[in-house]
């Protein structure tokens, strides 16, 4: 009996100690100063999202609109010789990695929401997305309202799952680990529709014949660059950089580069001045 008592109390102590780690202070140091000193900004970018951040098998580098934005913003903040280091994140891992300081900023198809703003700071929006649906071409689903009673596939950690509950309260939602798996599940008819931001869905529709984006957008999901709380100087620098890019036309150039070839998507709608 005595042995068991010690075992239980030992486990309890470990739990208490570990749960203490949860209240980690976000780092007191200025990320911007450190970045200037090392001439490097570390970015969290997607690796599984076509058009925004997709790992190119040939060289192992992530490529996409977000990645190019990160590189341009780095040059604007640190000067032409500034280096941008890319770390691949998922919808699920991006917040923890930012919180514990593994990345300085996250530019990974992350929409600005009030819940997220409680624990992170966001730059101004750099891309105006909205949630939509990807369905097989033969599907009878015309809009989000048709989803009641159907199974909808989403991705863990993305905001879109919560939105579905609001638009179609009787839809069944299953969350998968990433977009590649989600598309495979849709192909295997594990769900009737895949939901997330239209920008991502257009990328998926380009790659997967027999599927199309339907129903227009039913939410507004402005993407922002996320930084840790208390890094106001970095947030300001990023906002400044995005503004400069819009004025100089770099922004529109990147929009054309990545969204110019998407069928059924007028990339000029995204132009900013």
């Amino acid at each position: 009996m005595k042995k068991k008592f010690w075992l239980v109390s030992f486990l309890t102590i470990i739990l208490v100690v570990l749960s203490g780690c949860g209240k980690q202070n976000s780092s007191q140091q200025s990320v911007l100063k450190n970045a200037r000193a090392s001439n490097t900004l570390t970015w969290g970018v997607k690796g599984d999202t076509k058009l925004f951040g997709l790992i190119d098998v040939a060289d192992g580098q992530s490529k996409g609109f977000d990645v190019d934005m990160a590189k341009h913003i780095t040059k604007h903040i640190l000067g032409p010789k500034g280096k941008a280091k890319m770390v691949t994140v998922t919808s699920q891992s991006r917040t923890p990695l930012l919180k514990n300081g593994n990345v300085d900023a996250v530019i990974a198809t992350m929409s600005i929401t009030p819940e997220r703003e409680k624990i992170l700071d966001f730059s101004h929006s750099y891309f105006d997305a909205g949630q939509s649906l990807l369905v097989p071409k033969s599907s009878t689903i015309r809009s989000a309202k048709d989803l009641n009673g159907k199974t909808v596939i989403g991705v863990v950690g993305s905001n879109s799952v919560n939105n579905i509950h609001k638009v179609a309260p009787h839809a069944k939602v299953v969350e998968l680990q990433d977009y590649a798996q989600a598309v495979n599940a849709l192909k295997s008819k594990q769900g009737d529709a895949l939901t997330t931001d239209n920008g991502i869905l257009y990328g998926l529709a380009v790659e997967n014949h027999g599927f199309e984006v339907r129903g227009g957008t039913f939410t507004k999901e402005p993407y922002g660059v996320a930084v840790n709380k208390g890094q106001d100087d970095l947030t300001k620098a990023i906002n400044q950089a995005i503004l400069e890019m819009q004025h100089s036309g770099e922004y529109n150039h990147l929009i054309k580069k990545w969204f110019g070839d998407v069928p059924g998507f007028d990339y000029k709608e995204l132009y900013r001045k």
């Binding site: 486990l11 739990l15 570990l18 749960s19 780690c21 949860g22 919808s91 699920q92 917040t95 923890p96 919180k99 819940e115 997220r116 624990i119 863990v156 950690g157 993305s158 919560n162 299953v174 969350e175 998968l176 680990q177 798996q181 495979n184 599940a185 192909k187 295997s188 008819k189 594990q190």
Partner: protein, 212 residues
């Protein structure tokens, strides 16, 4: 931590339920399937031995996640629709049954060959000798390693999270991504897993003492 338990008790309980259900089902079926293939592996018949051996090597040497994904993504394309929970439980059953087969086979073979010879020489048939002499002794030997397999099975059930099987791990991923309180979300389900595995461990220990 308390926050998560009170706010998400519904999700956590449902996750606990699905994990428990999947574990119980997989434990039951993998024990039956495992025993069958263990016996096949030691039969005098060559074909039966080959089939048993092939089954064990196939499912023991493929990662659990791959087996599960096969049932979740590939079978529905060609055969029949399988939901995440079922696909995960089938994967878990097949994977664990291969290990259980090996455990039981080694238990049977560790019983001294003299036992079988003795039983046969007093007029028992092969199956009688198996049933009354070899298996009871083998059972005693395999209890500790079998307990290991059972505990592993419960923990491996977290594979359900990857195919949307609504288990504890799935709920923790979901809670962590809503609250952003990663550490506490996973700590809570760690404790819930302990609630299943600890009694199982202690029961196997008790069984070991009682029989030995």
């Amino acid at each position: 931590m308390i926050n998560i338990i009170t706010h998400y008790s519904h999700q956590l309980l449902s996750g606990f339920g699905w994990t428990l259900l999947s574990s119980v089902l997989a434990l039951f079926f993998s024990l039956i399937i495992g025993s069958l293939f263990a016996i096949m592996e030691i039969l005098p018949n060559k074909t039966a031995r080959f089939v048993g051996r092939a089954y064990v090597e196939l499912f023991r040497n493929i990662p659990l996640l791959v087996i599960t994904m096969f049932f979740y993504l590939i079978i529905p394309l060609y055969l029949v629709k399988i939901n995440g929970f079922t696909a995960g439980t089938i994967g878990l059953t097949l994977y664990t049954s291969a290990f259980i087969a090996e455990t039981i086979r080694s238990g049977i073979q560790s019983v001294d060959t003299g036992q079988m010879e003795g039983a046969r020489s007093v007029g028992m048939t092969y199956w009688q000798a198996m049933r009354y002499i070899i298996l009871p002794q083998a059972f005693k030997i395999v209890i500790p390693p079998l307990g290991n397999q059972f505990v592993n099975l419960v923990k491996n059930s977290s594979v359900l999270a990857f195919v949307a099987g609504f288990d504890l791990m799935y709920q923790a991923n979901s809670i962590a991504s809503t609250t952003f309180d990663t550490i506490n979300s996973y700590l809570v389900i760690g404790v819930l897993y302990l609630i299943i595995t600890m009694p199982l461990s202690y029961y196997m220990r008790y069984l070991e003492k009682k029989i030995a």
